[in-house]
């Protein structure tokens, strides 16, 4: 594998991490969605590049799914959703942005340090790529738990899942990647539909606005 291929792949992966940070940084839903579209785009590019360098054409399907589904349909659907349900436009972060950023940096550091002992035998690409993918995953999870807003939580989950796809495609010659990405797209579709069906406005916890008492397991 040529140096260039490696650098480009590396670049795209790094780009995704960067965009994840950007997403953590957003405080308005629309801009968050746009950033996520960007994230998905980066993923599409990365996957496409992998398809190219691994000359594994089936990965193009994954790339296409990423491009169409995640970069276009989902953000659009979520836009509609926000309008339809009249969700507050701004995200309510649990912790301040600064803290979230620091946490994110710590996570990236953690993922790299965890990946360090991995021997090069796993493939020159694999180590860095995995480090990035892991950071994307962790950042997504961080986003899910630092945002109160349902939509932003979904977005967090989707970015997490982008990280997974990145890792999967990064893994040279991994079979079933397409199937997995499809399965995941179904999962996400379910979530979005779920939000729509159950008219979840603010956060995952309150399903129905009509019911004021929030039900969590046994009543106290």
């Amino acid at each position: 594998m040529s140096r260039l291929d490696f650098d480009v792949a590396h670049l795209l992966a790094g780009l995704m991490v960067l965009v994840s940070f950007l997403m953590l940084y957003q405080d308005r839903l629309y801009s968050l969605l746009n950033t996520f579209a960007l994230h998905a785009l980066a993923l599409a590019l990365a996957v496409a590049w992998q398809a190219q360098i691994q000359d594994a054409p089936h990965l193009y399907i994954t790339a296409a799914i990423a491009l169409l589904f995640k970069a276009m349909i989902i953000p659009y659907a979520l836009h509609r959703l926000i309008q339809r349900l009249g969700i507050h436009r701004e995200v309510e972060p649990v912790a301040g942005l600064g803290i979230t950023m620091v946490l994110g940096l710590a996570l990236v550091a953690l993922s790299i340090s965890v990946m360090l002992p991995v021997t090069a035998a796993a493939g020159t690409l694999a180590r860095e790529d995995l480090a990035f993918a892991l950071s994307v995953v962790l950042l997504g999870l961080l986003m899910m738990i630092t945002r109160r807003n349902a939509v932003s939580q979904v977005v967090g989950f989707m970015s997490l899942e982008n990280g997974l796809i990145l890792a999967a495609t990064g893994a040279r010659g991994m079979p079933l990647v397409v199937e997995i990405s499809v399965a995941f797209s179904i999962l996400i579709a379910f979530i979005v539909i779920g939000i729509f069906l159950f008219r979840i406005r603010e956060r995952f916890d309150t399903v129905d606005v009509a019911a004021l008492d929030r039900f969590r397991g046994d009543r106290r």
């Binding site: 953690l110 340090s113 965890v114 999870l141 961080l142 899910m144 738990i145 939580q153 956060r203 916890d205």
Partner: protein
């Protein structure tokens, strides 16, 4: 420290090294086929089958059929076990059940045979009694399916020769008895009784499980033979001993694990109460003997401390509760606690002597305990049946509402009187014999070398004496309040004698009390194979003594002959009576009792149970429970009554059980918050776990 291992043990090991099928020392017994054992197992199996029959058979037929059948099977069980005991038979069989690669080991030897005898005859009498008693049972369906299996489980515990089978039977015993306790589930308090009982029981089982885990080692040799051969390390063995004491003590009712006993035993139907108090506690004692004496091998002297101390305390504390108790059946249950304490005291002495290498003294102590086991089984069953008859006739268990029953139910009164006299250790009945033997044992204790024992043993003797005296007091009160005086309630006034089966059962037990008391030598002789099995030595044969008197050590040292005492008393009494009748005026007149000039003496002017116990609780009460006596006098010149009220709280219950419950409750409340988090918080839990593990990983590498 090195201890002279008893001859029996060493021989045992030797045999086993020669690859003996089972490392037992046969004593004078002969290893035969498995004829007797298979017969016993047949009895057990049929008892087990009687359980489903209790469900399957139509209601009327079931209650009519189950108890007689159980009685028959139990009689067969008991008598064949007695035969096995006398012959000192040793039989093993391994069934392909239980833990697959071990199988269910079953083993019959003198020790097992003795306890089987107790179980068999206890079950027999209880079933006889039940034939009559069950006529008043409103819901036989709640009793019948569990009654026979309960007995079967007890028998199986005694026959089991591997840890799994033992615990299986042990826990089955708990479950079935729990079901029997819950038979009258609608009575207030029985739910609590059942709960406490089952929890304590399973605690005991788990503890025993740990003990067996230690004994079996990492490779899981659960059968007793290999456990016996694997020499457990001394300190480890001590841990095992403590665990076993807790495990079996929780079932036998050692203080402070006794709390369930006075709740559960009275809650069950009376024939079951008799079984639980008279027999089941003995099975627990069997467990202790089997593990502590047989499996653990030669003891060190300080092993004997826990049973000795706990036993002595239990003996006294149990009675202190019994003395102030107003519920007849609870009173009996507390006195069971006392007797268990006495037995464990004897076992502790036996261990102490054995560790010192004084086999004969150990044999004496063990004989005393085992004899007390048999005796307590008889008179406690008798007393519980008596209480059951009283309950039948009056529907009352509260002593404060009984009285005068001696007129209404004469037969029960006589039999119950014999029971009380026996349990109060009065010669010439059987209770006295075992206590006498125990005193003899205590008197041989100067032999013991360790100083601590030198001080503890006489103290234990004092406790024993105190217990004996308190027992007499307690049962004078019980009998006097229930049967003597004038009826304190219309129910008591309208009581009627119970039916013939119940009387028959009680009569059998009373006869047993008298026989065991008059001819103790025979009972002691019957135990000789057992002693040889467990200790490797025996006591001198008693049956050959002149006049069948009991001479454990030497005629000069001390001897007792119940027969002669009985004959003398009878002669003296009758001759006196005849003499007086010849001399005296025959005239006899009935007149009102002396009333100090207040003719209208209502039954309420009698001494109540509380007022009878007042001096005793005044003297001893502070020891066990914080009693608060309050006397409310009317104002000078006021005509209102003066009221005396006694409030006594069980210290152990308050300090131990309630507090434990509180702690669990508090922690539960704390943790319960985790049920009510938001999804985001749950996600953060997952996230935290992930990050934690990753960090650990990063650090580890």
């Amino acid at each position: 420290m090195d201890v002279p291992t008893p001859a029996g043990a060493s021989r045992r090991i030797g045999k086993a090294e020669r690859g003996d099928a089972c490392g037992y020392d046969d004593g004078e017994g002969v290893r035969t086929g498995v004829t007797l054992l298979s017969f016993l197992l047949g009895c057990v199996a049929s008892l087990l089958l009687l359980g489903p029959a209790g469900v399957a058979l139509p209601r009327r037929l079931a209650s009519a059929a189950i108890y007689p059948l159980t009685a028959l099977v139990c009689a067969a069980l008991g008598s064949s076990a007695l035969a096995a005991l006398l012959a000192g038979r040793v039989e093993d069989v391994v069934l392909p059940l239980g833990v697959p690669w071990i199988g269910a080991h079953l083993h019959l030897d003198a020790l097992a045979a003795f306890f089987l005898t107790v179980i068999g005859f206890g079950g027999f009498v209880a079933s006889l009694y039940a034939i009559g008693y069950a006529r008043h049972e409103e819901e036989p369906r709640r009793v019948l399916p569990f009654y026979a299996p309960f007995i079967a489980a007890m028998a199986l515990v005694v026959l089991a020769a591997d840890a799994f089978t033992f615990l299986l039977a042990w826990e089955t015993m708990s479950v079935t008895s729990w079901a029997l306790v819950m038979a009258h589930h609608e009575r207030p308090g029985n739910l609590l009784a059942g709960h406490v009982y089952l929890v304590v029981a399973s605690m005991g089982t788990l503890v025993l499980l740990l003990a067996f885990g230690l004994l079996a080692g990492t490779h899981g040799h659960y059968d007793f033979t290999s456990i016996r051969l694997a020499a457990t390390h001394r300190t480890l063995a001590w841990l095992v001993l403590l665990l076993v004491l807790v495990g079996t003590g929780s079932k036998a009712g050692l203080v402070p694990l006794h709390a369930w006993l006075p709740l559960a035993h009275p809650a069950a139907p009376s024939h079951v109460s008799g079984l639980m108090s008279g027999i089941m506690t003995k099975v627990a004692i069997y467990g202790f003997i089997r593990i502590a004496f047989d499996l653990l091998g030669a003891p060190v002297w300080w092993w004997s401390l826990p049973p000795l101390v706990v036993g002595a305390l239990t003996a006294v504390i149990g009675l202190l509760y019994a003395i102030v108790e107003n519920d007849l059946k609870r009173l009996l249950a507390y006195s069971t606690v006392e007797n268990i304490g006495i037995v464990f005291l004897g076992l502790g002495l036996a261990m102490a002597f054995r560790s010192g290498g004084f086999e004969t003294a150990a044999a004496l102590a063990l004989t005393a305990s085992l004899l007390h086991v048999a005796n307590h089984a008889t008179f406690k069953s008798l007393l519980f049946f008596g209480a059951g008859s009283v309950l039948d006739a009056t529907g009352e268990r509260d002593l404060g509402r009984l009285g005068g029953l001696i007129h209404r139910m004469p037969a029960t009164a006589v039999l119950f009187l014999i029971g009380t006299a026996a349990i109060s250790a009065l010669p010439p009945l059987n209770g006295f014999v075992s206590e006498w033997l125990l005193f003899q044992t205590v008197l041989t204790s100067p032999l013991l070398a360790p100083w601590l024992l030198k001080f503890l043993v006489p103290a234990a003797g004092a406790m024993l004496a105190l217990a004996a005296a308190l027992a007499a007091a307690c049962f004078v009160r019980a009998y006097g309040m229930a049967f003597l005086g004038r009826p304190r309630s219309p129910q008591a006034a309208g009581a009627n004698e119970v039916d013939v089966w119940q009387r028959l059962a009680m009569a059998l037990l009373a006869a047993a009390c008298l026989l065991l008391g008059v001819l103790p030598g025979l009972a002691v002789d019957a135990l000789r194979p057992l002693l040889r099995l467990v200790l490797g030595t025996t006591l001198p044969r008693q049956a050959t003594e002149a006049w069948l008197s009991l001479i454990p050590l030497s005629a000069r040292a001390g001897s007792y002959n119940g027969l002669i005492v009985l004959v003398f008393m009878v002669l003296a009494g009758t001759s006196a009576a005849l003499l007086v009748r010849t001399v005296a005026a025959r005239r006899m007149r009935r007149a009102p009792a002396w009333d100090c000039g207040f003719p209208t003496a209502s039954p309420t002017t009698q001494y109540t149970p509380a007022s009878f116990a007042q001096p005793l609780s005044h003297v001893f009460g502070a020891m066990a429970f914080d009693t608060a006596e309050t006397v409310a006098m009317p104002p000078p010149g006021g005509l209102g009554p003066a009221r005396f009220s006694l409030r006594s709280r069980d210290r152990i219950w308050e300090l131990l059980y309630r507090r434990l419950a509180l702690v669990v409750e508090r922690i539960a409340t704390r943790l319960n918050r985790l049920q009510f988090l938001t999804i985001r918080k749950y996600l953060s839990l997952v996230f935290a776990a992930l990050v934690l593990l990753l960090v650990l990983l990063a650090l580890w590498q």
